[in-house]
C-alpha cells in the first residue's frame, strides 16, 4: 500500500489535534494539582450520608479557601483546599464531627507546601531532556543514521504535545489535574512512542539490507508489514488501561487516561508521523544532493 502518498493528510490530522490542544492550553491553561502549586487534599468518610451542599456550607464557614468538594463514593468526599497545617487538619475533623453529629474518618490527607512545585517542573524537564537525548543516541547508533533518531524523537514530542493538549481540554471540561502521576505518564509514553517507531524502522533496516530501494518504497513496505502488529499490540495495552480507568479507583483514573492517550497517540505517530518525517527528510536531502551535483 502506498501509505506515504498521503503524508500531507497525516500532518494535517496531527496539526489539527495538537492545534486544538494548544488552543485549549493558551485559552484555559492547565489545571494544576497540589503537587505543583501547593495545597491540601483530604478524603473524608462520614458515618452516614451527607449532602454536598451541607458540606459546602460547613467549609465556607471555616474561612479556609476551598477549591472543590467532590463525592468519590458512598459517604466519601474529596475536599481540596488551600494548604492547611497539621493543627488545622485535626481541628477541622473535630469541627465536622460536632456540626454533623457523626463520626468522621480521614481516609487520606495530602498537604504540599508551595515551595515543592517549581522543583518538580524543573526535574520533569531534565528527565524529558535526558530521555530524549539517550533515545535519540540509541536509535542513531542502532540504525546508523541521525535521521532515524531525530524523526523518532520528533514523533515522541508530537505525542507529548498531544497529551499536554488533551489534558488542557480534559482539565477544563472534566477537572483532570496535572500532578505527579501525569508527569510519570508523560515520561512513560516517551518510551511507548519510540517502541512502535523502532519496530517500523527495524523493518526498513531489514528490507534495506536484503533488497535495497528508496526510503519511500521501504517505508511503505514496512508500514504495511507492521500495521497489524502495531494495532494488535496497542489493543492489549488499551484493554489493561481501560480496565484500570474504569475500575482502578479515583487515584489512578487520570493516570490511566493519560497513558491511554499516550498509547493511542504513540501507535498513530509511528507510521504516520515518524516515518513520514523520515521520508520527507530523505527526499529533501536527495533533492539537495542532486542540486549540488548540477551546480
Amino acid at each position: 500500500m502506498n501509505w506515504m502518498k498521503y503524508r500531507l493528510v497525516y500532518f494535517v490530522i496531527s496539526a489539527t489535534i495538537i492545534g486544538a490542544g494548544l488552543f485549549a492550553y493558551v485559552k484555559w491553561g492547565l489545571n494544576i494539582g497540589i503537587d505543583f502549586k501547593g495545597g491540601t487534599i483530604v478524603e473524608y468518610k462520614f458515618e452516614a450520608e451527607v449532602k454536598e451542599e451541607r458540606l459546602k456550607e460547613l467549609f465556607e464557614a471555616t474561612q479556609l479557601p476551598t477549591n472543590s468538594i467532590q463525592k468519590t463514593s458512598d459517604k466519601t468526599y474529596l475536599v481540596k483546599t488551600e494548604s492547611m497545617d497539621s493543627l488545622r487538619k485535626s481541628t477541622i475533623v473535630v469541627y465536622l464531627e460536632r456540626n454533623l453529629e457523626m463520626k468522621v474518618e480521614e481516609l487520606r490527607f495530602e498537604n504540599v507546601g508551595p515551595s515543592i512545585g517549581p522543583d518538580l517542573v524543573k526535574k520533569t524537564f531534565y528527565a524529558m531532556g535526558i530521555a530524549a537525548v539517550l533515545i535519540l543516541l540509541w536509535i542513531a547508533v542502532q540504525f546508523k543514521s541521525l535521521k532515524f533518531g531525530i524523526s523518532a524523537v520528533l514523533a515522541m514530542f508530537h505525542d507529548s504535545l498531544v497529551l499536554l493538549g488533551s489534558f488542557a481540554l480534559l482539565g477544563h471540561f472534566f477537572g483532570a489535574e496535572i500532578d505527579f502521576l501525569f508527569v510519570t505518564a508523560a515520561l512513560t509514553i516517551l518510551s511507548f512512542s519510540v517502541h512502535d517507531t523502532i519496530v517500523v524502522y527495524d523493518r526498513i533496516r531489514e528490507s534495506q539490507k536484503k533488497s535495497g530501494g528508496t526510503i519511500y518504497e521501504l517505508a511503505n513496505k514496512a508500514t504495511t508489514e507492521t500495521m497489524v502488529r502495531s494495532l494488535n499490540n496497542s489493543f492489549t495495552i488499551i484493554f489493561m488501561l481501560v480496565a484500570l480507568t474504569l475500575l482502578g479507583g479515583t487515584t489512578v483514573k487520570w493516570f490511566a487516561i493519560a497513558l491511554l492517550i499516550g498509547t493511542v497517540s504513540g501507535t498513530y505517530s509511528s507510521p504516520f508521523v515518524a516515518v513520514p518525517i523520515l521520508v520527507t527528510w530523505d527526499e529533501l536531502q536527495g533533492r539537495l544532493r542532486r542540486s549540488k551535483f548540477f551546480f
Binding site: E110, I116, L181
Partner: protein
C-alpha cells in the same frame, strides 16, 4: 538455528526447566495463608540453617504507604545560619537525629532520606502505619535544644548567662513523676562530664535559680538548695504525660543541629489502601481476561501458547517482587498491569512474522526464522523503554531527577515487567511451540 534440529530433547529439557521455575515461582507467589477447598494452608518461608550457612528470607509482598497506610513527611532544613562548608555535615547529622527520634517514637520500618535540589535541603520521612501526623511531625520537627542558664543578681535586665551544660551532655532522659504532686516530669541523667559541669553550676548558684531553657523558652527555673553531685536532675515543667514523653524522645535522640519545617505531608489510612488494592486487583483481572481472550481470537492456538507465557509472566513477576523485594505502590501496580499488556508484545511481533514466513517454508523452520528475525526489533524497542524506566527510577539518586516514591515504584515495576516479558515472550513461548510442533509432526 537449524543445527539444533537433531537434538530433539533440548526444547523438552528447557520445558522441564521452565515448569520447575514456574512451580518454584508459583510457590513464592502464594499468599502466606490461604484456604483451598475449605482447608487452610500456610506457606513456609525460606529458612535454611546448615552449619555456618544460614539463609532466611520472608516472601511477603511489601506494600508502600499508599497501599498499607501511613505517613510521608517532607521537612525543609533552614540552613541560613550555617556556614556553607558546614551545611553538608549539619544535614547529615540532622538526618541521624531524625532517624533516632523516629526509631524511639516506635515506628516499625521507618525510612529517612535526604534530598538536595535547587539549593534546598530536605528530609523525607516515611512512617508506615502512622496516621497521627500531628504528634509525629511535632516529635520530629522540634529542635529540642536544651540549655541550662544562670540567673545573675541583677534580674531586672532579664538576661541569662548561658552555661556550657546542654542537651549534648545528657546520657539519658526518662519520664518520671513528681513525688509530691504526682505530675509527670522529665528525669535527666548526665554523662560523666555533664555531671561535673552540673555540680559546678549548682555549687556556684546555691540559693539562686538555675534556668532550664528548651528552644529559647524557659521551661522552669528551680532554686538550687545545695550542690548536686551524682549527675542527675529533674525538669518539672507543666508537662502533660504526652509532652513529657515527646520531650524524652527528643532529648534522647539529641537536638536538631538546624531548624526544620514541614513542607509536605501525605497520609493514607489503612482502609483506603486496602480498597485501592482490591480495586486494582479487580481491574487487573478484567484486563487480563480481555487480553487473554483477544490473543486466542487473533492467533488461535498460537495465542493460547502466548497466554500460557502470560501466566508464567504473572507468576514470575510476582515472585520477583517478593524476592527483591519491590515496594508496591498504587502507581507501581499500574506499572505492573501495563507490563501485562506489553508482555504479549514480543509474541505478537513473532506471530505476525510467522504468518508471513509460513507461506515460504515448513512450519518448524518458519517458527525458528520468525523468532530470530523478530529479535532485533524486540531488543531495540525494549531497550528504549528501559532507558525511560531507568530515568524515572533514578537508581543512583541523582538530585536533578525525581526521587519520589510513587514515580520510582512505577518505573521499577515497569522495568521488572519488561525484563521478565522478554524471558517469557521469547524463551518460554519459543520452547513451548517447539515441543508442540515437533509432537504434532510425529
Amino acid at each position: 538455528m537449524l543445527d539444533e534440529m537433531p537434538r530433539i530433547s533440548a526444547p523438552l529439557k528447557r520445558l522441564i526447566f521452565i515448569i520447575f521455575l514456574f512451580l518454584l515461582a508459583g510457590f513464592v507467589s502464594l499468599p502466606r495463608e490461604f484456604s483451598l477447598f475449605g482447608r487452610k494452608f500456610v506457606r513456609p518461608d525460606l529458612n535454611i540453617q546448615k552449619g555456618k550457612i544460614s539463609i532466611q528470607k520472608k516472601f511477603d509482598l511489601v506494600l508502600g504507604l499508599d497501599l498499607a497506610g501511613g505517613s510521608h513527611l517532607v521537612f525543609e532544613a533552614d540552613t541560613s545560619k550555617v556556614s556553607s562548608d558546614a551545611v553538608k555535615d549539619a544535614v547529615e547529622s540532622l538526618k541521624q537525629v531524625i532517624e533516632r527520634r523516629v526509631n524511639l517514637f516506635g515506628v516499625s520500618e521507618p525510612n529517612v532520606q535526604t534530598s538536595f535540589f535547587g539549593g534546598k535541603h530536605r528530609i523525607i520521612v516515611e512512617l508506615p502505619g502512622i496516621q497521627d501526623t500531628k504528634t509525629a511531625s511535632s516529635v520530629i520537627g522540634k529542635v529540642a535544644q536544651l540549655v541550662f542558664a544562670e540567673v545573675p543578681e541583677a534580674t531586672d535586665s532579664g538576661k541569662l548567662t548561658i552555661t556550657d551544660l546542654t542537651g549534648a551532655d545528657l546520657e539519658r532522659a526518662s519520664v518520671a513523676f513528681d513525688q509530691t504532686t504526682g505530675k509527670p516530669t522529665v528525669a535527666l541523667k548526665f554523662t560523666k562530664e555533664g555531671g561535673d559541669k552540673f555540680e559546678k553550676i549548682t555549687e556556684k548558684n546555691v540559693g539562686k535559680p538555675v534556668a532550664i531553657i528548651l528552644d529559647d523558652t524557659l521551661v522552669s527555673a528551680p532554686v538550687v538548695q545545695e550542690k548536686i553531685s551524682g549527675g542527675t536532675a529533674q525538669i518539672t515543667g507543666s508537662f502533660t504525660l504526652e509532652e513529657a514523653r515527646q520531650l524524652v524522645v527528643q532529648l534522647n535522640a539529641g537536638a536538631l543541629p538546624i531548624p526544620i519545617k514541614l513542607v509536605e505531608e501525605r497520609t493514607v489510612g489503612a482502609t483506603l489502601g486496602a480498597e485501592s488494592v482490591a480495586k486494582s486487583v479487580r481491574a487487573g483481572l478484567v484486563g487480563l481476561v480481555m487480553v487473554v481472550t483477544f490473543m486466542v481470537l487473533a492467533y488461535g492456538r498460537l495465542g493460547l501458547v502466548a497466554d500460557v507465557g502470560l501466566v508464567v509472566f504473572g507468576v514470575l513477576t510476582l515472585a520477583l517482587y517478593k524476592f527483591i523485594p519491590v515496594v508496591l505502590t498504587l502507581p507501581g501496580i499500574a506499572g505492573f498491569l501495563l507490563s501485562v499488556g506489553m508482555a504479549v508484545d514480543s509474541n505478537i511481533l513473532i506471530f505476525e512474522r510467522f504468518k508471513e514466513e509460513r507461506a515460504r517454508r515448513p512450519i518448524a523452520d518458519a517458527l525458528e526464522v520468525s523468532f530470530g528475525r523478530a529479535w532485533d526489533s524486540i531488543r531495540d524497542a525494549n531497550i528504549a523503554t528501559l532507558v525511560t524506566a531507568f530515568i524515572l527510577a533514578n537508581p543512583f539518586d541523582w538530585p536533578f531527577l525525581h526521587t519520589s516514591g510513587p514515580v520510582r515504584g512505577f518505573a521499577i515495576t515497569l522495568a521488572v515487567g519488561i525484563g521478565i516479558s522478554l524471558f517469557t515472550g521469547i524463551f518460554v513461548s519459543r520452547n513451548l511451540l517447539r515441543v508442540f510442533i515437533r509432537e504434532k509432526k510425529k
